[in-house]
């Protein structure tokens, strides 16, 4: 990947840990896509 001209080097720490904990996530819904947003033809192929 081209990140252009490298200009600066430093050490930075996140304010909050970017890695979610196990209990950060809501229960998972059924993996059914919204039919209004997923083309019907695609769903037919994937089914």
């Amino acid at each position: 990947m081209d990140i252009g001209t490298e200009e600066e080097e430093y050490v930075t720490e996140p304010v909050e840990d970017p890695v979610p904990r196990e209990d950060d996530v809501e229960p998972v819904e059924a993996p059914v896509p919204d039919p209004d947003r997923v083309p019907a033809a695609l769903l037919a192929v994937e089914a």
């Binding site: 990947m1 081209d2 990140i3 252009g4 001209t5 490298e6 200009e7 600066e8 080097e9 430093y10 050490v11 930075t12 720490e13 996140p14 304010v15 970017p18 890695v19 979610p20 904990r21 196990e22 950060d24 996530v25 998972v28 819904e29 993996p31 896509p33 919204d34 947003r37 997923v38 083309p39 695609l42 994937e46």
Partner: protein, 152 residues
């Protein structure tokens, strides 16, 4: 990377947030992100740590190692990732960072938000489960610009 646990006083506070692409790797029932260009899986619920074959702590200015991200989606879209079945997303980068005019390479990273192409819609919920981040269906390379789509 034994050196990464030593105490380092940061120069800045706050992760950088860039854009990158991941390939998909299936391990048994697990759907995981991996590097598009290298055989490196990004672990779920753990920070990804860059490695370097030379053995120094990445990234180093004298080397090309580190976790890469573009500073803008537009810049990422200008690269060749559309040739892969790639998941696009925003990634938090921290630790040792080298900033370029178009992006960063860094020591640590973790996905912040994932954009899954409609053609890979079955991966959306497994990826959200695995990484605990927001996942959105969007064909980034086909549509261009900031994506809008169905969120999981």
């Amino acid at each position: 990377m034994a050196m990464s646990n030593r105490l380092v006083v940061p120069d800045r506070v706050g992760a950088e947030v860039g854009w990158r692409a991941w390939a998909i790797e299936t391990r048994g029932d697990e759907i995981l992100l991996s590097s598009v260009t290298r055989a490196e899986v990004w672990p779920a619920r753990e920070r990804m740590e860059a490695s370097c074959r030379i053995g120094h702590e990445p990234p180093a200015k004298s080397c090309g190692c580190g976790l890469y991200a573009a500073s803008t989606l537009e810049h990422l879209q200008g690269m060749d990732y559309h040739r892969h079945e790639a998941v696009i997303g925003q990634v938090a980068l921290w630790g040792r960072v080298i900033a370029g005019t178009l992006g960063w390479r860094a020591q640590f990273g973790y996905p912040e938000r994932l954009l899954v192409p409609y053609g890979l819609w079955r991966l959306a919920v497994p990826l959200r489960d695995a990484y605990g981040v927001q996942v959105q269906l969007a064909n980034v390379f086909a549509e261009g610009g900031e994506p809008s789509g169905h969120r999981h």
